[in-house]
């Protein structure tokens, strides 16, 4: 996946879409105040410069699907593991809730179910049947909408054809009005995501930690607005 920071407006449509697609529970005001809200993707806001010459920078952060993922090696029960396609999968049934993976993750994108999740009526009717809901005491995280990946693969296999680039997208990518996020197969050199991740604007988040993340962020290159800070 690539995320073009130049295009991100911070509208948080991705956050809402992710929530609806993946049955992410709502923490409620009390639990959110206790820093227990779950959001598989978040839009981080960073201010540059001092008022009035301040400039706001948005950065969507989700699981970086690292190649050398620190979360995987530390899980004693193999709940966190690298699937054959290179995704960091989380097997909810295997998770006993040591929370070690969440501590090891440099991006803090793993979330814990401190209580059993509750959906107030009638919201329980809108749960996505393709995604399991998670019970108390287990970790959850962005899966790159693995249910969509699997569905598209099965359909392509049934039709005896290769998957096309851009045939399907995770919920966050699909809902992005400015097309800031691009999803695809990094192993296919022809795909748009491969092309974009070779961009000279590209960099990885916290590359120095050495987790080898798969998401490439494309740096801002637009000129600051009138009266804005020069950076």
């Amino acid at each position: 996946m690539t995320v073009d920071l130049d295009r991100c407006t911070g509208c948080e449509a991705c956050v809402v879409a992710c929530r609806a697609e993946n049955n992410v529970p709502t923490a409620g005001p009390d639990q959110a105040a206790r820093q227990r809200a779950i959001h598989w993707i978040r839009v981080e806001r960073y201010w540059e410069g001092e008022f009035p010459n301040a400039r706001l920078r948005f950065q969507p952060v989700l699981c970086q699907q690292c190649d050398a993922a620190p979360c995987e090696a530390v899980c004693p029960t193999y709940a966190s593991y690298q699937n054959p396609e290179g995704l960091n999968a989380q097997i909810y049934n295997r998770c006993v809730g040591t929370r070690y993976c969440a501590n090891a993750c440099p991006y803090t994108v793993r979330f814990f179910n401190f209580y059993n999740p509750v959906w107030d009526k009638p919201f329980h009717l809108q749960l996505n049947p393709d995604v399991s809901v998670r019970s108390v005491g287990i970790m959850e995280k962005c899966t790159f909408c693995i249910q969509r990946i699997k569905a598209a693969e099965i359909q392509a296999e049934a039709a005896q054809r290769e998957l096309k680039d851009g045939e399907f997208n995770p919920a966050c990518v699909q809902s992005c009005p400015t097309k800031a996020m691009v999803f695809g197969n990094l192993n296919d050199p022809e795909s748009e995501v491969s092309r974009l991740s070779q961009s000279t604007r590209g960099s990885k988040l916290l590359e120095e930690v050495g987790a080898r993340p798969k998401i490439t962020y494309l740096a801002r290159e637009s000129a600051p607005e009138e009266g804005g800070a020069t950076s």
Binding site: A73, V74, P76, C95, A102
Partner: protein, 458 residues
């Protein structure tokens, strides 16, 4: 101390044979604290671990602090006692059993935390390699897996190390008792008759165990430190952690031992056996460990400061001048500034002095574990994901319960086992005969001189 063997039997077996109201009062108070902790724990398991104060990103807090703290305390015993045995330090005799039993109980208490801190504690056995229908093994790359092996090895080893030298003393109790005690101690003394062959075997077993238990103990706390050092978290990911943790463990362990001894000598009237000499010698050891601990923390902090790595500096400043600084400087006072003068100045290195120093060290070392864990979690790389932590009554009650459980187990142990190793003490009194042929000396011991339980039972 010039006590005859009969006087020793009288003094040291009194706590086993006579139960005072103070015993029942202590047990009652401790049990009620433990019951409160048990209720808190049930409440947690029933409702979910959300009743603790943990949050994102402070996923670990009191739970793992207590885990590291108690595993640290466990290094009091076996390790100290093994070193003193190997060094043939004769003053060790009244101290060793007191120390070894701390190890066993502290390991049991500390080892409980990796289980109860789980999100789904009822599935704790998934951390163990057991044959299952799914053919899934645990993840051997995970330091938590190493913990499982390290702690189970250590608990087995220290139980053996504690129990072997108790056997002759249990045989002595058996020979001196009647009624249900006779039956009970006949079973637990495992047919000890005090034959030269048995003494030889005991001596050999203790020599082997003393050598084996030292690397085990060192590896245990190294592995505990690697729970942190193996994760790429600022200020956790450090090469100094293993020796730093082992040093801190022995440090807090000796402090716990001194406090336990001071309570025992008062409560059981053993002032003639645990004397100022013992506290002074342990105080010197404690002083060395305090200096060593300070050396480690200076090394850690100084290299971090000069390295000036931004994410590490966030953690660094949060502990030095930020929100965690009151705890940090309390820790420095408790672990270094207060104990060092108390232990270094001969006039102050009294029983009271060492006990005061030990008490502050226990507080300081608990804080040290907390300060290793929480500031790093709450100041990870991305400032957007910074957080804070505040405990709730549930984890505070469980923590109080662990201290009560330690004391209760200790009180019960002193009820069923002579807390000072009687045969070793008698052996020491037979100075200057330090014979490698233990059996020669042992043949004069009362356990043999009197009719054995096996002989009189019939």
């Amino acid at each position: 101390m010039n006590k005859t063997p009969e006087q020793m039997n009288e003094d040291l077996l009194r706590p086993v044979f006579h139960t005072t109201w103070r015993f029942w009062a202590t047990v009652g108070v401790l049990l009620s604290v433990i019951a409160a902790a048990g209720l808190a724990l049930s409440y947690q398991v029933w409702n979910g671990i959300g009743v603790w104060g943990i949050d994102r990103p402070a996923f670990w807090a009191f739970d793992i602090t207590n885990f590291v703290f108690w595993i640290g305390i466990s290094h009091a015993g076996t390790l100290i006692s093994a070193i003193l045995r190997l060094a043939n330090a004769t003053w060790r005799r009244p101290v060793t059993r007191c120390a070894e039993v701390i190890t066993l109980w502290a390991l049991m208490i500390g080892g409980m935390f990796p289980i109860i801190h789980l999100g789904r504690p009822w599935l704790f056995f998934w951390l163990a390699p057991y044959p299952n229908e799914r053919g899934i093994w645990p993840q051997f790359r995970s330091p938590l897996m190493w913990d499982f092996f390290a702690i189970s090895t250590y608990i087995t080893g220290s139980a053996i190390f504690l129990l072997y030298p108790i056997i002759p003393d249990w045989a002595l109790v058996r020979d001196k008792s009647s009624g249900w005690r006779k039956k009970f101690y006949t079973v637990v003394s495992l047919g000890w008759r005090g034959t030269p062959k048995q003494w030889n075997r005991l001596e050999m077993a203790m020599k082997i165990m003393a050598v084996v238990i030292i690397p085990v103990a060192v590896s245990v706390h190294s592995i505990v430190s690697w729970d942190f050092a193996m994760a790429p978290v600022p200020m956790w990911h450090s090469t100094i952690f293993a020796p730093y943790f082992v040093c801190g463990a022995i440090f807090s362990g000796i402090a716990a031992l001194i406090i336990a001894m001071a309570i025992i000598r008062k409560a059981l009237g053993l002032e003639d056996y645990m004397k100022r000499l013992h506290f002074e010698n342990l105080g010197k050891l404690l002083l060395v460990m305090s200096l060593l601990w300070f050396y480690f923390i200076v090394s850690e902090r100084l290299t971090t400061w000069y390295g000036n790595e931004p994410s590490e500096m966030a953690v660094f400043w949060s502990t030095q001048i930020g929100s965690f600084s009151p705890l940090f400087w309390t820790m420095v006072c408790c672990n270094f500034l207060i104990p060092v003068p108390l232990l270094a100045i001969k006039k102050l290195r009294t029983i009271t002095g060492t006990v005061i120093a030990s008490s502050t060290i226990i507080v300081g070392m608990w804080l040290e574990r907390f300060l290793i864990i929480v500031p790093s979690e709450t100041h990870k790389y991305l400032p957007y994901a910074y957080g804070s932590y505040r405990p709730t009554w549930v984890e505070i009650t469980i923590t109080a319960g662990t201290f009560a459980a330690m004391m209760l187990l200790y009180v019960l142990f002193a009820k069923f086992v002579p807390i000072i190793s009687i045969w070793e003490l008698k052996l020491g009194e037979r100075k200057p005969v330090v014979s490698p042929q233990l059996s020669v000396v042992a043949s004069d011991l009362p356990a043999l001189a009197e009719p054995t339980g096996l002989a009189t039972d019939s």
